[in-house]
């Protein structure tokens, strides 16, 4: 008999037991870290009122439906906005800090490819009521604990500041309408366009050079100590975070003065997780000190989300690399393979 094939929507997929066991190993390891560090797990509905999600300013929803009263519902695009809603609604008077974690699917209208589906599972925390720099340092510490528990060896954390470039533009007297063009080029990661925009503004050569160079600066703590003038002021927040990090967290950090995250709600420190085994970030997060206020409970907050599929891909990639190195020792022909990477 011919099997009947029933399609599933683009950007979604089934997970079968062999893969599920491996994914489960990852989520259980991460969950143990979150619980140990005092983050209580929550569920929120996958469907929310579109109007409520819109208040948060996250990624625009890709899937919408009408309910039986004609209200527009949308599938959440992340967990940060729903948890901001939850804190304001369910914990209107609770004494901060409030610590939550989640393991939940989110939905976005992306071009589906490996590690980037339209329905994807995220693991993350939200630390509410803990201001910078202490709260940021705590979130980075939990992040490293989680990645260590998963078994990743080679990950790095890119650390930047969402307000850095705007601060710099303001201190150099760049008018707000010109700043938008520069920010667009930066978000598009197009340094050629950035250089072109800067050339049109009639800045002094030194200022234009500074505004082109700074967002391309990335490296160790020398990046912060080497900064002077308006840049030194702009990186003051990052220096404050760095001073609070334990050595095993600090050694994972790459400062990235051009780091921009696409969500509109970030206000201060932002970070991305990188692994050499994958060409895209495993996850990331940052501070969103204004978000809770939009829901009526003004509290500073920080959080991060990791995409479970990407942790899994990076983990299998690191394992393969480990085998290649072992192969080098056993057969003597592995050198070209490893060096060729």
């Amino acid at each position: 008999m011919r099997p009947q094939i029933h399609p599933i929507p683009s950007g979604t997929r089934d997970v079968l037991p062999d893969e599920m066991r491996e994914l489960r190993d990852i989520t259980e390891a991460v969950r143990a870290v979150f619980e140990l560090d005092g983050y209580g797990e929550v569920w929120t509905p996958a469907l929310e009122y579109e109007q409520v999600l819109g208040r948060g300013g996250g990624a625009p929803p890709a899937y919408r439906v009408f309910d039986d009263h004609g209200e527009v519902l949308a599938l959440r695009t992340d967990m940060t906005v729903p948890i901001a809603r939850l804190v304001a609604t369910r914990y209107p008077t609770a004494e901060p800090p409030l610590k939550f974690c989640y393991f939940a699917h989110a939905y976005r209208g992306v071009r589906p490819h490996r590690g980037q589906m339209r329905e994807f599972l995220q693991a993350g925390i939200e630390l509410v009521g803990a201001p910078a720099p202490q709260g940021t340092a705590e979130a980075l510490t939990v992040l490293c604990h989680a990645l260590d528990a998963v078994g990743l060896r080679d990950y790095r954390i890119g650390l930047g500041d969402a307000s850095l470039y705007r601060t710099l533009l303001r201190s150099l007297g760049v008018p707000p309408e010109a700043a938008e063009g520069l920010m667009d080029a930066l978000v598009a990661r197009d340094f050629v366009a950035l250089e072109g925009e800067l050339g049109r503004l009639g800045l002094t050569d030194a200022d234009a050079e500074l505004l082109l160079r700074v967002p391309q600066v990335r490296g160790g703590p020398e990046v912060l100590s080497g900064a002077d003038g308006p840049v030194a002021d702009a990186v003051a927040g990052l220096r404050g975070v760095y001073e609070l990090l334990a050595a095993e967290v600090a050694e994972r950090v790459i400062f990235d003065l051009g780091l921009i995250r696409k969500m509109g709600y970030y206000t201060g420190a932002v970070f991305d997780v990188y692994d050499p085994a994958l060409g895209a970030p495993l996850g990331g997060g940052g501070r969103y000190d204004d978000l809770l206020g939009r829901f009526g409970r003004p509290l500073p907050a920080v959080g991060f989300a990791l995409t479970i599929d990407r942790l899994h891909i990076a983990l299998t990639g690191e394992e393969r690399e480990g085998e290649a190195v072992t192969g080098l020792l056993s057969d003597g022909h592995g050198e070209a393979r490893v060096a060729g990477r």
Binding site: R189, F191, D256, D272, D275, G279, A339
Partner: protein, 211 residues
């Protein structure tokens, strides 16, 4: 260490190849094997992989290559690719243009009387974005082969295509009506490699600027 410090570079075959190899030679990469062998695709010793220009963003976005060189026309047509655009290399200059047959502009006539102009192109996203930006209704007809044929046969009123010298357009009795942008070769990088191999990428940029 090799001159590129272990970076894998995606190099475009076709019109950009020869000048790309000249630049790589100038920064100390020995490209003689690439020049002498146009069947081989992977040159592990010098960290070079060769491919069609339109495939370069695919390899770089996925991290299969750390950096790559391709035309701005390719990047404009693939705006969703998550790559860093680091440098305008300046060579391979050509223009993306809107062209029609010589004489009275048939696309203006079509817009006025029928409300829509039909446009043949290999760059359908670039063309669609251009007409949206300029507030004109256009039906984009995607063709794979010689675009110049489409307006001559009455398939479309206009074409959007890349031209370096304009010779092919002239030979087919086509004239340039508008210029969308000038395209040159660009250096792009994978976002993760841009952080984890920052020193190697910055060193390569510096050498390219000096070369």
């Amino acid at each position: 260490m090799s001159p590129t410090n272990g970076l894998t570079i995606a190099v475009p075959r076709g019109a950009l190849l020869s000048e790309t190899l000249d630049r790589l030679d100038a920064i100390g990469v020995d490209t003689s094997e690439v020049r002498s062998n146009d069947r081989k695709l992977l040159f592990a010793d010098i960290g070079v992989v060769t491919m069609r220009p339109s495939d370069v963003p695919t390899y770089v976005e996925a991290g299969a290559a750390d950096v790559g060189i391709t035309g701005k026309d390719v990047l404009t047509e693939q705006p969703e690719r998550d790559v860093y655009e680091l440098m305008d290399l300046g060579y391979g200059a050509c223009r993306m243009v809107l062209a029609t047959v010589d004489g009275p502009d048939p696309s203006v006539e079509a817009l006025r009387r029928l409300g829509v102009m039909r446009v043949a192109t290999k760059y359908h996203k670039t063309a669609a974005a251009f007409f949206e930006r300029t507030g004109r209704q256009a039906e984009i007809v995607e063709v794979k082969g010689s675009v110049e044929l489409a307006p001559l046969t009455g398939l479309v009123e206009a074409i959007v295509d890349l031209t370096a010298t304009g010779t092919t357009l002239r030979e087919n009795n086509l004239v340039i009506r508008e210029e969308l942008f000038v395209s040159t070769a660009r250096l792009i990088a994978n976002p993760v490699a841009h952080k984890l191999k920052a020193a190697a990428i910055d060193a390569m940029l510096e050498k390219l600027r000096a070369a």
